[in-house]
């Protein structure tokens, strides 16, 4: 999408994302200082996002898109760290794959590395507070975080390119039908894979989860 966001929009999303990046960098520093044991898990959460955003998966709409993988790190470490980890993924794809883009980096960081993780984290906390089972909470968090990312992308494009006839809302529907609709099966896939990884963590890495006070008391 390089060059497809007008300069003013590109700059504005960059400015909006900047404080989240600073906060994220601080959060990464705090996690590695306070929980040195969990450093490798933090890197693994980044690795999960790295894998999932490389996988372009076909969807029932007849187009392809990729999951984000940012929900896992958000529920383990809090949403702030994902701004940094997601930005690394986006930078890699912008520089080496001409995917995403440098001029759209700010907007993409906001949708994938900020909005998605915060929604995932919020959904996870809400589902757990309401007494939802861990697997259900993890699934909903990852799936809805993924959908939120692409809904935000649709809104970002609609703000830049409102429909000449139906205006902003018409454009949201238009871009939403391209992105969000395609994304529904992918969101389910991301939810299932995140549950799978959390299962493995509970099985093999209970100590790291205890270190982060994640899902205390849940054992396999």
């Amino acid at each position: 999408m390089e060059g497809f966001l007008p300069p003013v929009h590109a700059a504005a999303w960059g400015l909006v994302s900047l404080p989240f990046l600073v906060m994220g960098a601080r959060s990464v520093a705090r996690v590695t200082r306070e929980h040195p044991r969990a450093k490798l898990l933090l890197a693994s959460a980044g690795a999960f996002a790295f894998v999932l955003s490389a996988l372009k998966i076909p969807s029932v709409t007849g187009s392809c898109s990729h999951p984000t993988g940012t929900g896992l790190g958000a529920i383990l470490f809090g949403p702030a760290v994902m701004a940094v980890l997601g930005a690394i993924v986006l930078l890699f794809q912008a520089l080496l794959l001409a995917h995403g883009g440098l001029t759209t980096l700010g907007a993409n960081i906001f949708s994938m590395a900020i909005a998605g993780p915060w929604v995932a984290y919020g959904v996870f906390r809400l589902a757990r507070t309401l007494g939802g089972a861990l697997a259900l909470a993890v699934f909903l968090a990852a799936a809805l975080g993924n959908l939120a990312t692409y809904l935000v992308t649709s809104v970002q494009l609609a703000l830049a390119f409102p429909d000449p006839v139906s205006g902003f809302l018409g454009a949201v529907t238009k871009f939403g039908s391209v992105f969000a609709l395609t994304q529904i099966p992918l969101a389910i896939i991301e939810g299932l894979l995140t549950v799978l990884v959390v299962n493995l963590l509970i099985q093999f890495s209970r100590d790291d989860l205890d270190e982060l006070a994640f899902a205390p008391g849940v054992v396999r």
Binding site: L52, A54, S63, L96, P164, P185, L196, Q203
Partner: protein
């Protein structure tokens, strides 16, 4: 737990493969193109005057190189994730066998045989 995980994986495979088997929605210029490309087409269709004002600094020179880099990205991520899970699995198994002297003895017998 292993059964649950296998079922999860099976469900992922089914959801990913199903779109390839189901009939395609009509009116597609190019089946299974990227959603990004479709959004760009929608932008230029509604705003014919819009010119992208920036080009990627570098583009993979061919589809082959592009798939190489995507595969590399997935491999790096999966490699690190697999390393982490393998490391922790080994640690937890060692601890289990340390805590279980009978099993340790059995291992010693195995080793002698």
């Amino acid at each position: 737990m292993k059964r649950t995980n296998l079922l999860l994986l099976a469900a992922v495979v089914v959801i990913a493969v199903l779109p390839l088997i189901l009939p395609l929605p009509g009116g597609l210029a190019e089946p299974f193109a990227g959603a990004d490309a479709q959004a760009q087409a929608a932008i230029t269709a509604a705003n014919p005057d819009y010119q992208p004002w920036f080009r990627p600094l570098w583009e993979p020179p061919s589809g082959e190189i592009e798939s190489l880099l995507f595969a590399l990205q997935a491999a790096l991520g999966a490699g690190l994730l697999g390393y982490y899970l393998g490391l922790r699995r080994g640690e937890s198994q060692r601890r289990k066998s340390d805590a279980d002297p009978a099993r340790l003895d059995a291992q010693a017998v195995d080793a002698r045989d």
